[in-house]
Symmetry: C2
């Protein structure tokens, strides 16, 4: 299945509030300390499988950082918004624990996945526990100086994002068995599966941060900024999964072709049946395991229809749309600069 | 794994507000109508696997009914509390969808389980969607005349119950591989896995229903009522799973012995090693598949240590505790009568 895997991404998310976010996340898990917590701490990269603390953190905390950056840009107080930022990270991680089971992935961040170590039953349940903690966490906004009414709206935005995530994941799984998936189907899917949570991250930061946003205009712009950013981010991941430099991505060239992922370049090529021999393309793509020579052949076909160029143009289009939404907020350019910087970092600095 | 399966239970939950609750549940799922909704409607018993409507409803809606009965007993307005009642039913059903995957159960209510029809990946995700809908649903209290502050507390109680459920499920799964589980371990497990959600159902009904409960005394009593009721209910299910009448339970005598479930009677017998030959008991119990003659032998050992009597006494003890909590609320007996009736119905009318 398709999901932008940050660990393999050739960018660094700046260390904004890394410590504050991590402390909030750790406290949220540790305050309900039971046997299931060990699985969660392992997944988050804070402990090894035997429960020994690890010093490095593995998560880039992209969603909480986007939330806090949006809060800062709209003039909000970071401390008050930390519970929303942490809840977003828990939602992201609950979905990773479940995705790894659904995809049968044995490793994540070069470590065994939760299900690989504890079995699928315990891993499904650990994901559910993480999901529960996310919902407990977001309600803490009310004790951090956010009004009850705003806390309720924030909880609602978070739950709606979760449902979008599930709807997108349902599409993604069902696409695996379908041979008629279009590029538009794919864009609809990643809008829900990837972009909705990034959009909710930036929208929540603005909603909780902005003192004046009576008609919801600022929140809406920040939602659309995050949504476009999410689309650009996911589509760039599709490019890197096929043509990426192994030294940067940690994955060999053609990795996603070998896994037969229905990413945007592949779906685009399938639509260009007049240019390539789509019967042959489909036939190769339908094989159970792809050989190196077949991977090369598929990439050759993608190149023939300029699938890379098409996909790169989509990244640029959505990146520009994202930046245009930011500008349309009317907020001073200096305040928006960190969000522009992170946008460039996520989608590549070369344009 | 152990979980009271109401479909096989020889009792009828009265049809209190069956239509109102069902309408609320259906609206909540249908308002986010996507492809994943079909799996949820199938699971709820409203549609067959091809999406055709079914006329009968299968769920007994125990948790929402307990919630509304508690609301009524404390003088609340049923209409206002319906979103909490529906959210409880969604939480229960999300856990059933995931439990069926975790237990590898192919059937529920004599129908194929969601994972059996759509595969495990889609079923994990469908459970997650149901979980998300539960959290969206509980927030609707604020639009039904409940204050923002109370809506937030209700959402918090629900999320805490979810986390308890996961902690209990973690224990239950880990007990399968352990040979040293005690009756006390078991009681701790079912307190979280079964009793916490029933307790939250009655507590939520009282919390939202009671006009005057400034120190939380009424809510607390109702929580403990539901908790004791849940313990009695689960333990009676353990008795029925071994000694139940097939005509009533739909399961053959000894069904839970055959499945080698670590239920209370079995764990009690294991603790009575001075009376039975516990080495032989453990040896038989450790076999992969139990023959009919072995099931009879195990039941004979349980009878030798009076495990049924011990377990029945636990049911009676917790039932009496439940009723004592109700009485201690100081609410008029006439108002409590429906809750007493449902308690007798759930744990057997014979005492």
């Amino acid at each position: 299945m398709t999901s932008a895997d940050i660990s393999n991404f050739p960018f660094e998310v700046p260390a904004f509030w890394q410590e504050e976010i991590t402390a909030e996340l750790q406290e949220a898990i540790n305050e309900h300390n039971t046997d299931v917590s060990s699985l969660l701490r392992y997944h988050m990269g804070w402990e090894d499988a035997s429960g020994q603390p690890k010093l490095e953190t593995t998560g880039k905390l992209l969603r909480p950082k986007l939330c806090l950056l949006a809060c800062q840009a709209t003039g909000g107080n970071i401390q008050q918004v930390l519970p929303a930022a942490a809840a977003l990270e828990f939602i992201h991680n609950f979905s990773l624990i479940h995705d790894d089971i659904e995809d049968n992935s044995q490793e994540r961040h070069h470590r065994a996945t939760v299900w690989k170590l504890w079995g699928k039953a315990q891993a499904i349940n650990a994901g559910d526990a993480m999901f529960s903690i996310a919902h407990i966490e977001v309600l803490k906004l009310q004790h951090a100086g956010i009004s009850a009414r705003k806390t309720l709206s924030a909880a609602g935005m978070l739950s709606k994002a979760c449902l979008n995530l599930c709807e997108g994941q349902h599409m993604d799984i069902s696409y695996e068995a379908r041979s008629d998936v279009t590029t538009q189907d794919y864009l609809n899917m990643i809008t829900k599966k990837t972009a909705a949570l990034l959009a909710t991250a930036t929208a929540l930061g603005a909603y909780l941060g902005a003192v004046e946003d009576k008609d919801g205009r600022i929140t809406d712009r920040f939602y659309r900024f995050g949504e476009y950013l999410g689309l650009a981010f996911q589509i760039r991941d599709d490019i890197l999964g096929i043509w990426g430099d192994e030294r940067q991505t940690g994955k060999p060239v053609g990795a996603d072709i070998k896994k037969k992922k229905k990413t945007l370049p592949v779906l685009y090529a399938l639509e260009k049946s007049s240019v390539i021999n789509s019967k042959e393309f489909k036939e190769i793509h339908s094989r159970k395991l792809l050989e190196g020579s077949e991977v090369t052949k598929i990439i050759g076909m993608l190149d023939k229809v300029n699938a890379r160029k098409y996909t790169q143009e989509k990244v640029e289009y959505y990146s520009h749309q994202a930046l245009a939404q930011l500008e349309a907020t009317g907020i001073q350019a200096a305040k928006l600069a960190p969000l522009e910087e992170i946008t460039h970092s996520l989608v590549g600095r070369d344009y």
